[in-house]
Amino acid sequence: MSKKSRSKLWFLVHSWLALPIWFFVLIVCVTGTLAVVSQEIVWLANPDIRASKPSDDAQPLSFDQVIAAIKRDEPQVIVRSIIRPDESHFALMVGLSYPDGRSVDAYANPYTGALQGISPAFDFQQFTRALHGWWLVPFTNGYSWGWYLVSLLGLPLLASLVTGLVVYKRFWKGFLRPTLRIRHGARIFWGDFHRLSGIWSIWFIAVISITGTWFLIQAILGDNQISISSEPIVPVIAREKVPLSAPGVPAPMIALDDAIKIATQRIPGLEATFAFLPLNAYSHLQIGGRGWYPLMFQTAQLNPYSGEIAVSHLLSDRTALEFVTESMRPLHTGDFGGLWIKLIWAFFGLVLSMMVLSGLLIWTKRTALATLNAFKREAKTQRQPVPTPALRAETSETH
């Protein structure tokens, strides 16, 4: 096959990669973009999750102080967990258990401990993530088939990137001479747009497609019970390590703030941002947060009666492979460095959505014709090569 017809073939492959399911791909891109900033969207819409300061010099409360404030306002409620979000403008997320059997997330003011509201039944953040992540298909036995459906898109996306760069010859010149012709008709404009946004999104498309493909691998591994985790499986606390006490008097536990102190001493550089309280008398108290590497969490599980650390899972415990695989999710979601990273991710998510759309517009205006011609050529068994101006214009180096 000649060099020219090979590049034409690449071009057709590129054109047809996402096509029969273009609208599905588009919606996955759009919901992914929304999911990146879903927490921020909820922040704008719902005052309950804002961390309003009662006064300028207000100091954030410790976790024990927050629990005490919640207990004061609602003595019946049991606090199951506290999470301090990465960004200080978000309220604390506390997991609460109510006597009527409800188990809900609520928002507590980090400065006063006041419960500002309970997460609504329609949780926009969870919903966009479920829609983007597994297309709302329920998990019944292992991973949902919706998860496979969405994560499979990582492969054509990666292939689109590669074939796109192959057919866009000397694409690096596009960085130096950006071209976006507005007054030459829709076809030219969308073509320029597709190429220009494509080269500036190379890194992003690579990140999203590789991490997306990882989700596919993760599901395959998970469904075949293959684990690559070095995280120890934590048994319940041994019977003899839970003190006996008088009937009706629960054995006293150490203060949560003391537990955080112990965990912080044990794990250098740990900034404890979440605590999961014991789930029964034989269950550990879990403290965790990020360390020097912002893409992963470190955790410690403590005996809540003695403060003894039973297990810890530190950055240094991770294998090199885990550094790669555990970084995949934060890299995909952009949730590892605060608001600005999320905004960058959301911007490029929007650009990627536009690339799906512009790709389709280009296709409707031209590729259908090019494919028709390619088929005709084949039918004529190379008697006479039929000129395909549209294709030639696309795959040529100059514009």
């Binding site: 049991i78 809900v104 019944t140």
Partner: protein, 178 residues
Amino acid sequence: MSRVAAKPSSPLRAWWLKWRFHINILLLLVPLGFMPKYFADAALFRGDAGIGERVAGDIQVGPWSLTLAEFRNEGPRPDPAGPMKAFNAALCATCAEQVKATYLRIGKPRSLRAAGVIFFGTPYRMGAIVPVPERTPIDAELWVTMEGWDGTMHQGSIPLSQASPATIAWLNKQGVKP
């Protein structure tokens, strides 16, 4: 436009060329179809409709009691470790402080060490996932063991047929003879 791209050589190919863009519609119908299920599940996890899909009843366990519910009104789910059935429970209002731990098992446990799976959660809402051997007799009992803070132990039971009719139906389907 693309329909004229190729002279359909086989019915399958013609069908594909004609309908390929309708895959989009099918794919979009998937989340729409699952949406009611998604919101029902979200409510179930939040406990908006109580501790489980089907409340089986109260079980007296010595001086204490609990309300047992099937998390989902269905038979055991497959798991690498064998079929598993999820139950939820709430302790009686006065015994929340008294009970150190609650366990669940099919068949009477011989000792506290063999009391079965431990419930995780708060006294208001806790859950346990019990292995259901495929050869479980359909007149089996579901046993609850409770342990006090001083180490005292009490037991109570409920017929499996009352705790989970769906599990009995599942066992019958597995071919277990009464």
